[in-house]
Symmetry: C2
């Protein structure tokens, strides 16, 4: 039996799989993420969330391909890539692969040195750019990421702690496609980490269990812990925090986010991506990271 | 030396006292809480915050009297009353006393049984009513409470977790006096719990250290713990959470709170206090609590 305290429910294996798929179906319908005919590109890390999401979308009958981005984070990347490939083979599904060191000449350890910011910052920037590019190049209607309820609640908590009204206005389960940006959707917002881990176990999906070694001790994990302590006392608190935000507070912040974006976008002179400057943030990061060279990369622990 | 990580500072005793008074002075000025000529009634529990606040207001030259409300919570109430009286005597200040069991015929343990809600709910309701009444009867310009930064941040966190837009619109360091409500002010919003404890130690003020036994394990304390875990990793996060709320988010929620209050108030047919119904919530609670009688009171652990 799989017990879900926040729903005051317990499920056997088959009922739990039904419940999980229903939650994804509900999220897709409620937020109008995509339609049955759409081609969806799933950003796959090799972890429980992205592999579970891909599996569910395939079972629900969607045209879902996978995209794996090799980040060059030593053994962690080697191992996560193997899980992604093994899953794709087991489902006979299409997996697109991009390798940051081979295709763009830098890895995340070097990228974060070049950016002089936390590793997760350079990593997020690279992912957003390359997911978007791959989706546009491949003619996909949407990129789906495996952000689950815990992820979204932790991001929300971080934005609320600083009352970052701009980010609060943009934190939605669907970002519409516009001006060179493909639509981005998060179909797992109704499911939490424990549920996704249980889903993979029940379905027999092998995934990389380790957290990314570069994320250790970051703020995001601290926010998750704080919210877990609240959830422990009041089951359901985390889900209410996120869903009530969407229904009651998000509409108040949205106009502020739209206003702050009205700067006007133009094409990056290097890659053509939409940007507010001449060169987009990705091209600028890549240039600096490549300039650091392979010696610095080795010193930073890259492969 | 008293180290304050969030300010990246350390103070000797006299400098710390100066810092503490300055923080109270800043809060009073910034939020226009009251003027030098105003008569202020300090709600005194016998704890570090309310006694520290009273002490600071007297030192800053304000006309501040104390109000002690005996809640009938066994030894806790006996002891907290003694601390309040001893402090008043040491400063030769005026302390008004109201005793809930003697003057109104019920205590908080019985009141919470009658209300069939958490003890802190019946207690808060009783306090709000009696503080307001005492201030109006005594012709005071404002009631000052010892809510500190940790208290306000925890209340804010609770309101944000449920996105209670109505409460969020009303959570301010000053509630203006209107329609039978005296002005309520919180001059300690720039100081945290640890600072108030240090203030009392440096000043040699004896206070009741125990938390109220009826508050044990309540949600509010859980919110404080969660925020403390965040503060531990990022000193200053709690103060930013509260102050950025006031400057950036509160204005968005305020119109909603005003709209929800536009029901119109009338005088309670029992006591004359403003209420939306015929009988105010306090008179209704007191009636039910008195009806439970002394036997039930004893069984509930009341004195």
């Amino acid at each position: 039996m799989i017990e879900l305290r926040r729903h005051n429910a317990a499920f056997c294996g088959p009922c739990f799989l039904h419940y999980t798929r229903q939650q994804v179906r509900k999220a897709i319908d409620e937020f109008e993420m995509f339609s049955p005919g759409d081609r969806v590109l799933v950003a796959v890390s090799g972890g429980k969330d992205s592999l579970g999401l891909w599996d569910i979308l395939l079972d629900l009958g969607y045209q879902a391909d996978g995209l794996y981005l090799g980040l060059g984070i030593g053994e962690y990347s080697d191992s996560s890539g193997s899980y992604a490939r093994a899953f794709a083979a087991s489902r006979d599904a299409r997996l697109i692969e991009i390798d940051l060191p081979a295709d763009y000449g830098y890895d995340i350890p070097t990228g974060s040195l070049a950016a002089r910011r936390a590793p997760c910052s350079a990593c997020g920037l690279s992912k957003r750019h390359l997911f978007n590019k791959a989706a546009l190049d491949g003619g996909y209607d949407a990129v789906a990421t495996g952000h689950n309820l815990d992820d979204e609640a932790a991001v929300l908590f971080g934005n609320v702690l600083r009352w970052n009204t701009d980010y609060l206005g943009r934190q939605l389960p669907v970002l519409p496609g516009e001006q060179g940006f493909v639509r981005k959707v998060k179909p797992l917002v109704r499911l939490d980490e424990r549920e996704m881990a249980a889903y993979c176990v029940v379905r027999g999906i092998d995934y990389i269990v380790e957290e990314c070694p570069m994320a250790e001790g970051n703020r995001h994990l601290g926010y998750k812990e704080a919210l877990n302590a609240v959830e422990e006392r009041s089951p359901g608190a985390k889900a209410a925090f996120y869903s009530e935000f969407l229904s009651k507070a998000s509409p108040l912040f949205r106009p502020l986010a739209v206003a702050s974006r009205d700067g006007g976008l133009q094409a990056c002179i290097r890659c053509g991506s939409p940007t507010t400057g001449e060169v987009c943030a990705f091209c600028s990061l890549a240039e600096r990271a490549v300039a650091l060279g392979p010696t610095r990369r080795a010193a930073a622990g890259g492969s």
